[in-house]
Symmetry: C2
Subunit: 664 residues, 2 copies
Amino acid sequence: MTRIDEALETKMANAIRALAMDAVEAAKSGHPGAPMGMADVATVLFHRFMRVDPGNHRWPDRDRFVLSAGHGSMLVYAIHHLLGYDDMGMDQIRAFRQMGSRTAGHPEYGHAQGIEMTTGPLGQGIATAVGMALAERMTHARWPDLTDHWTYVIAGDGCLMEGISHEAIDLAGHLRLGRLIVLWDDNGITIDGGTDLSASTDQGARFAAAGWHVQAVNGHDREAVAAAIGAARGDGRPSMIACRTVIGFGAPNKQGGHDVHGAPLGAEEIAAARKALDWPHDPFALPEDVAAAWAAIATRGAQARASWAARLDASPDRAAFLAAQDAPDARALRKAIAGHCQRLAQDRPKVATRKASEMALEVINATLPLTVGGSADLTGSNLTRSKGMATIRPGDYGGRYVHYGIREHAMAAVMNGIALHGGFVPYGGTFLAFADYSRPAIRLGALMGVPVVHVMTHDSIGLGEDGPTHQPVEHLASLRAIPNLQVFRPADAVETAEAWEIALTSPGPSVLALSRQNLPAVRVEDEDANRSRRGAYVLRATPLPRDVTLIATGSEVEIALAAADLLRADRINAAVVSAPCFELFARQDRAYRQGVLCDAPRIGVEAAIRQGWDLFLRPDDGFVGMTGFGASAPAPALYRHFGITPEAVAALARNLVKGEDPWR
Amino acid sequence: MTRIDEALETKMANAIRALAMDAVEAAKSGHPGAPMGMADVATVLFHRFMRVDPGNHRWPDRDRFVLSAGHGSMLVYAIHHLLGYDDMGMDQIRAFRQMGSRTAGHPEYGHAQGIEMTTGPLGQGIATAVGMALAERMTHARWPDLTDHWTYVIAGDGCLMEGISHEAIDLAGHLRLGRLIVLWDDNGITIDGGTDLSASTDQGARFAAAGWHVQAVNGHDREAVAAAIGAARGDGRPSMIACRTVIGFGAPNKQGGHDVHGAPLGAEEIAAARKALDWPHDPFALPEDVAAAWAAIATRGAQARASWAARLDASPDRAAFLAAQDAPDARALRKAIAGHCQRLAQDRPKVATRKASEMALEVINATLPLTVGGSADLTGSNLTRSKGMATIRPGDYGGRYVHYGIREHAMAAVMNGIALHGGFVPYGGTFLAFADYSRPAIRLGALMGVPVVHVMTHDSIGLGEDGPTHQPVEHLASLRAIPNLQVFRPADAVETAEAWEIALTSPGPSVLALSRQNLPAVRVEDEDANRSRRGAYVLRATPLPRDVTLIATGSEVEIALAAADLLRADRINAAVVSAPCFELFARQDRAYRQGVLCDAPRIGVEAAIRQGWDLFLRPDDGFVGMTGFGASAPAPALYRHFGITPEAVAALARNLVKGEDPWR
């Protein structure tokens, strides 16, 4: 650290304030309060600590910065403009919140360089950052000479009120993620008014209870902020620094009130702020000395990256390190899965698909060294841990398995963070019904397009006695509704392995819905092709003419096959289609889809609600499934009670076929 | 409190243990660990403190008991059997987890008397109990002479790890809900193993940071437990008592380990436990002295209820108190809403439906004295506060408005708790996109069938610049997927008022999806009937023959009407159907549905994904809506960008009509 020019640093901070208020004013929409309030803290962080290289924005050993309070997006855009990211010219700042600009209302991952994740839904940033900080330690455990970076978060009151923050803070404290530093924008204001309207918690004591290092500073005293960040870096625990700030600092008549949170200041107040801040420059204009000071930060980052690159080039681990930054080795995976499926076609194991998933993971985890498993305290139920996976423990990050605790939401967010950090391929398990707990993070992962696999077992009433709280009925539909998310519901061990292969070679997130109960092998031919890739396919063909098509997923494929057997006795030709992934089937061309489905009457069979099945079914087609919540009883009794049986499917088929051809 | 017969109380606790292990064994499934571990604590609680009357299980001033760790359901069933609830005979205990029994895997509200709520999804119990404890204080503020009860919770490690616990604990601490006492089953065990696998938080310090009174005791030292509960009752803050217990206490070879958590003990271990506990009785057999001691608790409760009833009868507030226990006055509400709608039909206000909701609430809150509003820190956006609603504050519970803070999940659970407690009709607001945060509690409310109204504004890309994190696209579908939940998306101020009327007179929960942007009045005739009751109806008829039916909801009804105008120029007769509630339409008979939809080609218009629209649309029908995430830009630009415009609807209609009749 060199000597700081205090006056210049003040101007550096005011540059953020000016850009934020001018951009929000131009957009007639946005949040000036947080960027202006946190400008000093952010300036200290970037000026004195952050190591990023705008010329190489994906540099693996860069520091990560997450604006968990995503509504303050102009803070990020202003800083990135000042640092000289070449896709963040002043044209972008001027186009804040306009169609097609990179400067969206909230920071969007992939829209512009250097945005480490999409934020906006409160609490997601801090939880995802825990994943980044964990991935840093895991990378460090493997390549200590090539890994030395920090994860910084700016969080608001909302982030700390959201439940996910509890799960994230607990886990970070437990795992002693000392490279994580949270700067809390402690401005005492929420949208409804003062925080005292709804909050009384002593946040410092709360973080301390979770094993964090805690400090509190005046967020406009830059020396104090710098000292606190320095002390935080010197402590082995994750750190929270409460930065007491004035929201909208610099807007003399509005600062400190909740009106400055989420609305433009107005021309008059902006003029007053220019005066108060001694910032005589035109809107969107920056004085040269300020621009140069910010540019120097980028230069420092570029130098750091260059010296890191030299170390990498000299390292014996170079190839392995670089390979870990890439997507998993698809060719090796495909080969391993193909071999596994050949064995399955011979062995024909009758196993639950959760067990089939465990069998697939034995192969996958032996093939891909950088998968990282875990479960939200259901390891023995989700079967997510393959042999020899060591546990990741506080201070010991060389393992490959995370005990996330009973924290489904944080698990999903932390997995997003691990994937965003790079170097690892995360998957984690819970019950499908509890997808609801992690839904906001699953959605955010889909929006960002991060490769994460959500292993969700106990996927229907087939889980039995635990009853309706634990039995998903609408969860398949509600997950299929999320754009960019692949939902797999495999029917046997082969389809489960295929689903894993597709999930691990897809750019976005996937859900694997897996049964608790045993299922017979239905894919018993030795095939090379991954048939699940098409989303749905004819599992059992029928001699022409096809009278009816039974379409099923997961545990109900067995039922459809048995129904087809019953129908054969009536000389009704029933084809059976297995449909492990609706999203993939929807992407097939019309000819393929028509070839699978044909014109004959169709019946969908899934122990869940019908919503979403219009991909397959026409109004006169049939559906055998659920129409409401489940119940507590042994699984076979439930299937009978809810009428999801081969007999029910066959009876419906007979009716439909009769309607089609009364002379039959 | 009378002198305690220690030896007898030991047997009372062992009766719970015996019933739990025997019932789980008979079911071959279930969780003996928690009931056996917490038997001492629960016995002290019921024996020395709880005031319930099994003969009048809905008595309003009863103490509430919530088993947040719902997997320990046999604890509740055993206690209710011992207390003599007449629907909890030994036949039910023997039928634990079997089809049709009241003794479901997890306690199910409505299945048996005295079960205050459904639990199982962890953390829901503690958060819902906050709502019960708040409702107690609100009732007390109105009728202090008739209100004097406590809310007790048994929570496990999982409940305290879940994020929702943070939101709930913070809010309870802030509101100083001194009548809430949480007994934490601190057994150091989770499913994956010791809690130290995933947790290091000092729970006592954590609760203290949130403003709670905290104690720790040996959970098998009944005198210490009693003293702690007594001290908790003496403190003005909510209380947490950490009860250190041995999971599965009494099973000599398995207790204290995670194997005892969720599986039957087995015959051998049960025999050993009988010996260890000195419980020589047959399975499901209870000695007389133990039965009598438990029965005495019920007698004490009945006496307490009788003396309360005498106070009620003598009270000048009798009528008002009893009225508050009933459902809202539907006749008064209907009359008020009808008058409001008449005025709207004259005024034809062009307002956002969130504003229309505020207008309706002015009428509703003036008519129904016991509605309780609130928002998760978006009061000015959700417009959930009508004039003169006082804020509920720490120590001052006479108000009608709750600032829930940025805690969507707890808000939904607390509202469930308020409704379950009775006496109030809760509603609360957030953005529709954040329904994902509260989804587990919304689902649980639907499963229980509690009347709660979720006000969810900013219901589409129409919110504009905040971008895809805040723009719901799949949320309507995913909420419509939840059984027993009514989702309304009204098109104007009249439909908004109608939705409120239906929601407030329905037995279960409802979601109101409301626009941020202004919408023209589309219901401009002075009608008596609530047309939304049918779920969908012909808003604009057309001269015969009808060429096409445009079906739309909410903000897109305006677009469908404009498209119909465009089509009229082409001499295409387009009827417009408004569909504010899919669930209600699905319940109409076939004739009504067919009369609304007719045979002509149909086009659905909704700024959301198509999933769920198969209620209206056939495969060859059209849909104008979203296929993926939204974007950040002003709303009009987004509607153009995503092609949700009258022109697009009209163009699609022309194509469909042409396909129907090429000579046209």
